[in-house]
């Protein structure tokens, strides 16, 4: 089953080859469960395993959805069900490790393992919610945001 799937995606990966890697994707989806989409320029794409994630994308999950993304700086970002995460800015210089990673969790749950950006500079990574701004000093953390239930 699994090897069949790999055989299916390999030719696709091949055609991208080295040239595609040079394009500045912010990251790639590595885990996808249930209803999970990426909104890009008004369009909704399935957040399938292997899908590229770019600056400006919004990751959206349904009641049974979750998505895990590995970013170019090795930041690991995953969202749980009923979540909306906007990738506001992703800039990463692979030589100096300088840049910025700003995201906004509008609602839902988020788990983060920070990567090379946060390690290089304490100001590089920020997560916003409707109620707070989080600064990250090279670490792992969790965020839940949403209205209180009655």
């Amino acid at each position: 089953m699994r090897s069949g799937f790999i055989a299916l995606i390999l030719p696709i990966a091949l055609t991208f080859g080295v040239a595609a890697a040079a394009a500045e994707d912010a990251g790639h989806v590595k885990v996808s469960n249930g209803a999970a989409q990426i909104e890009r320029a008004g369009q909704r794409l399935p957040a399938a395993v292997g899908q590229a994630v770019q600056q400006g994308d919004v990751v959206i999950t349904g009641a049974d959805g979750s998505v895990g993304i590995t970013f170019r700086d090795n930041s690991l970002v995953s969202v749980g069900p009923d979540s909306v995460l906007s990738i506001d800015r992703f800039v990463f210089n692979s030589t100096t490790h300088q840049g910025n990673f700003d995201s906004s969790l509008k609602q839902g749950t988020l788990a983060v393992v920070s990567g090379k950006l946060a390690k290089q500079s304490p100001e590089a990574m920020k997560v916003k919610t409707p109620a707070a701004i989080l600064g990250v000093r090279g670490t792992e953390f969790l965020v839940r945001t949403g209205p209180a239930k009655d």
Partner: protein, 212 residues
């Protein structure tokens, strides 16, 4: 006569206590529809390192720097610190934690002196890299070149990238092109063995293969 009087006192103090207990709830209700259920939690790092999370909300600021330290926010500016536990975190964040991608792993390749041939140890490492790729969904390789501190920073940036590109081409010959592969040159910025400037150090002239 005496016994009922005492009972009466007990009843009064009990109702006073329950009123005090209700006070935070009343405050929550006053906050009305702006009331939020936000929770921010610092986790212990898997590598044993504890970082920090700085929570800023409506002019309030709280630094979380202990494992499972948390801040709850009920409205902007209303930040309360509290402790959580692994069990509580699993309960509240289970699906998000379960969806975390596998952590990237790095391998290092070394070459026989003055050749582009891998050392016998490094040939075994290539086998491990293949195994690592096979067990990951949508695998990617980043080939990262490093130099020692001989030469200028800009020179070493270019040299490290050249080394990374050479190894990438070698890996492509080994029929690895089935994954996304990119290169990076870190120059002399990330020495394995810290040295003074202009020190020749073979252990720092290396190529790192990051699989993620």
């Amino acid at each position: 006569m005496f016994v009922p009087a005492r009972r009466k006192t007990d009843v009064r103090s009990a109702s006073a206590r329950s009123l005090v207990g209700l006070a935070p709830l009343a405050l929550l209700l006053l906050a009305g529809c702006a009331s939020r259920n936000d929770l921010y939690v610092l986790l212990p790092g898997q590598d044993g390192k504890i970082g920090a999370l700085i929570v800023s909300s409506g002019g309030e600021r709280r630094v979380l720097d202990q494992p499972y330290a948390a801040a709850s926010v009920t409205s902007p500016g209303r930040v309360e610190g509290r402790a959580t536990s692994e069990a509580e975190v699993r309960q509240a964040f289970g699906p998000a934690l379960a969806a975390q991608p596998t952590r990237p792993v790095s391998f290092f390749l070394y070459f026989l002196a003055d050749t582009d041939e891998l050392t016998p140890d490094s040939k075994r490492v290539v086998g491990q890299i293949f195994a690592e790729i096979a067990r990951r969904p949508a695998p990617e390789i980043v080939v990262i070149g490093h130099t020692d501190r001989v030469g200028a920073v800009a020179y070493n940036d270019a040299l490290s990238l050249k080394r990374a590109e050479k190894v990438r081409d070698d890996l492509l010959k080994l029929a690895i092109p089935k994954v996304r592969i990119s290169v990076a040159g870190r120059g002399e910025r990330e020495p394995l063995v810290p040295t003074a400037d202009e020190v020749s150090e073979p252990r720092n002239r290396r190529v790192e293969i990051s699989v993620r």
